[in-house]
Symmetry: D2
Subunit: 330 residues, 4 copies
């Protein structure tokens, strides 16, 4: 464990928080920061707990002789003021931020990582952002002699907590193993996608197709029900036929068809409509900028955008079934 | 075999032809008709072959004593002039026709089945048509004391030839077993869907979701390729993630990603764009008439319609990938 | 006035009522019916009033000698039991009905017009229906030696009351003048469109383009406002540029931009979203059946359909601006 | 004329070239540059011609005494190497560039205007770009004590040549008159839209609604023709009804309906599909970034994008009628 050098972490929100915790669990000293002090505090407390629990488990009971102190914990989890300080203390840094402007600021801003990054540092950005921004950050990092990789995740807060995220990684292939060493602490699947930006591309592509499949499944189930089909039977028929997709066989949007999915829980939990709208916006911008026609992806974006405007922002994205379903009064 | 009474068959086109042949193969005497005399002739020849081959195989070599003649063959495969004559000779009739107007004519026209249908007859329509027309036909049949069921198929000419079609059956549940006896000769899956019209509904719903998934997969693969992803790798990532669908994992539209699919053969064979446009038109009419919103289904219909106008009518429906892909010169 | 023979009228709803009244006003004796007795009663009362007022005005005060009685009124406005009776008493009949099935029933049903229609009768249908149904009715009428024309209207209840409707007329050109004689009593513009069904076609086409223009204007105004433009200024710029359309310059959907339009009155009055959805459904069916690609028309239909499901059914169709506008809470 | 100080001009392409020429015609000495030397050369020649012709006309024939020389011409039209040099010599500069990255480079690049801009300079950008970039440029200019305004144009090369462009101007209201003095030389309508970026916003909004109207008109005309309507008659009916829009009454996309429009000339000339696709891409990005739903605008963008991929890039944008029209062979 002594061989594990400090890992930097910027962005301790809903996703970053459990990810950083998983790094600690795997024995990596972490130096972290966030613009919101309360996020830092929360991680600090969680970190302390983690260390306590883990070390109790791993060491106290294995060794008869145990010593640890709050100071020591603070040593393995250190909160600093800004990204530049993180870069000053760690040469492997993971960032997990809400959107492109945050990433630009955290890397190239006045207190950004690149102000104090060391030559040869490995910078891994797990935010979901425009691939073009990933490429810009990679170019800026290269000027400082550092390596930038994009590694957005699929899987929500649950997968982040249990360390079961999927990471889609873009960047120099020769750095992939170094990235994988850290990402394995937080995810179950680490997929190399190609040059910088392709991790984002894979993420955006998957979510665009997911949204299309979900709206399509919702329309289809609704139409079938209107035409007199039993929803469970219809789902069964689709799933044994060419209409089959993840949204029909694993995450069916019609209440009562499947158990353990948000449609069975009033569309609580899961992946929020607002987050889907954000990812579809990225897909749209990327498609526009590369002059790629994406007619259904584009309409899917508009539908999730209209839903955000009609009170569905925080419901799971499968609530599009509810949005499309005509109300009794009509 | 002697217990098998004559089965009527109306519509001996690309699909009806091998379906009727499979009934013959299973030992059912068939009385058939079509508006095109050449279709009748073809089946007659095929029927003769079938009988020859099958009987040679099943009987000649098993029994030492064999007698059969052209007359005898004609006896088990009889071509008559019109649907009314079919109904005069058979009390179980299968119809396989291109579109709603043909079905209306074959059942209720001046020489239609209902002119001479016997009480208690079982009428099975395997055409893909508007469920509302199926309901009209069922009501008209009921007035004559006959039972009408809709049983559209999924699977193309290949599945029709090999007897591997899927039948989606709508109609009175107590008649399902009687229908199944015949349909089993022609299909591998016989699914009961509910009251009359639900077989059509299931078919239409599946194909609408299929079209959405196929266009969505094509857009997504195209966007990913533009963003620098390797198509095979992207397909693999989608297929292990929530973007997975039949069009991505079984019938990928990008040439080179999978073998044995139309995209690998210049989009020859498979399910024609024109046929998909027809089914989407049915879905659209049905959705319009039931006031069901189907935004992506509607746009999918328009895209396949535009493709028909741009020279893609006879290509496999996965050629939408080619349609969306920007040409080099742009 | 004595030369004016009785005119039949079937369908005395919101539109038919004032239309029939205008025929009375122009001195035509009317024999009318409706499936709803209360509609008949209402017209009878209105008719009496009309006659009283008009005759008071036109005759009592002009002539010194006046005689009229309730009996006489009933003579010029006669309510009968069904369309067949109307056809028995009048050889010029106008029908104004909600949808295709009603028209089919009123013309070809068991008590339909065609049961008792006289040879040489002129039948004018002002309902907005599928042009294919108009053609069917014309063919059925022709078999009885009668002439059928389609003459749907544009303009709402207000225009019907004031006699300012626009009639789009399809049918034999040599009958147009005969139709025009009557239609002039109810409308300001009587446009000959071509063979039977083209009146409907013109109506459907106009309303499809209207819906597209209205949604487009709403999207554009909303986007402009978001980008910091003053709505009145933006409307002015559009209206002097190539973005100009009826929805931007005559019926602007943004509250406060224009006076005297539904957007200034919480989208009350005007042309209901549900009615627009109906017309777009006709356009959609017609386009599907003629294999015509109408991508924006199709999406416009879906949007109005979604609005009906979200509580906008009875608001003016310009309320799509409100539907698209994101709520403050998002 | 002597009181007119030098005006800078950056971007001498199809639009910038005649615009600069019009400044010269109005007697403004111009100092210009372009990244393409051949553009500079062309303007220089044109400039010389202009000066010759104009001065011949205005001065030679009016005054008996005339002297001018090539040197003198070069003095009133000076070509320099880069935007920084333009800023060094002129305190009023107009830029006319293809897209956002060019604008960023011309203003903030290593040889950009802002490197040598004088305090109090007026910088007017007539490019059509993302309003967000206009705001960035304005902020950067302000830091140097200069004023930046966005003033995109509507009207094509013809309007640029004849000085009949419409300018939509965004920026500080107190600078509008100063901008108008120059813009009046090149345009017939100079509209003040509001703060920086609103000029772009107005332009983008207009073109989005224009595209929607054009596709809508094309769909509608095509559908009407299919339903048996005469195209000229249908256009007339739409134009007197609520379907009326600029695309139906001023720029009808159906060959033969109107004269003097691109549809009558095989869609040559006019406003290219590729340019419309570019503007719709800007509208899309802007809508995505402001989370504004624009369903029809979004689909219009996709349709023009698909057209670019199918060989329509350089045809007038009204060729969408041709794109949607089904071919005879189908």
């Amino acid at each position: 464990m002594s061989s594990k050098t400090q890992v930097g972490f910027v962005g301790l929100g809903n996703m970053g928080n459990p990810m950083a915790k998983n790094l600690l669990k795997h024995g990596y000293p972490v130096v972290a920061t966030d613009v919101f002090p309360e996020f830092c505090k929360e991680v600090q407390e969680l970190g302390a707990q983690v260390v306590q629990v883990e070390f109790t488990h791993l060491f106290l009971h294995l060794l008869c002789n145990c010593f640890y102190s709050e100071d020591w914990i603070l040593c393995i989890l250190q909160i600093v003021d800004n990204p530049a300080e993180v870069a000053d203390k760690a040469d492997r840094i993971i960032t997990m931020l809400p959107s492109s402007p945050n990433v630009i600021d955290v890397y190239t801003g006045p207190n950004g990582i690149l102000k104090k990054v060391k030559k040869g540092s490995l910078l891994i950005d797990s935010s979901t952002i425009d691939p073009a921004v990933s490429k810009e950050m990679a170019a800026a990092a290269e000027k400082q002699g550092a390596v930038f990789m994009d590694a957005p995740v699929s899987g929500g807060v649950g997968a982040a907590s249990s360390g079961n995220l999927t990471f889609m990684v873009g960047g120099a292939e020769e750095e992939f193993n170094a990235a994988k060493e850290l990402l394995t602490c937080m995810g179950a699947n680490i997929v190399y996608c190609g040059q910088v930006g392709t991790g984002q591309a894979a993420k955006i592509c998957n979510n665009m197709l997911l949204a299309i499949g979900m709206i399509g499944t919702s329309e289809t189930m609704n139409l079938g029900i209107r035409l007199g089909l039993d929803p469970k039977l219809l789902a069964k028929i689709l799933n044994m036929s060419s209409g089959r997709c993840w949204s029909s066989d694993t995450y069916n949007p019609v209440p009562g068809v499947m158990e353990g999915v948000p449609s069975g829980n009033n569309y609580q939990g899961g992946f929020g409509t607002q987050l889907m709208a954000k990812d579809l916006g990225l897909a749209q911008n990327t498609a526009t900028n590369t002059k790629t026609p994406v007619p259904l992806g584009s309409l899917a974006h508009q539908i999730y955008r209209m839903m955000c405007a009609r009170g569905y922002a925080n419901k799971d994205f499968s609530s599009v079934f509810q949005f499309l379903r005509e109300e009794e009064s009509q």
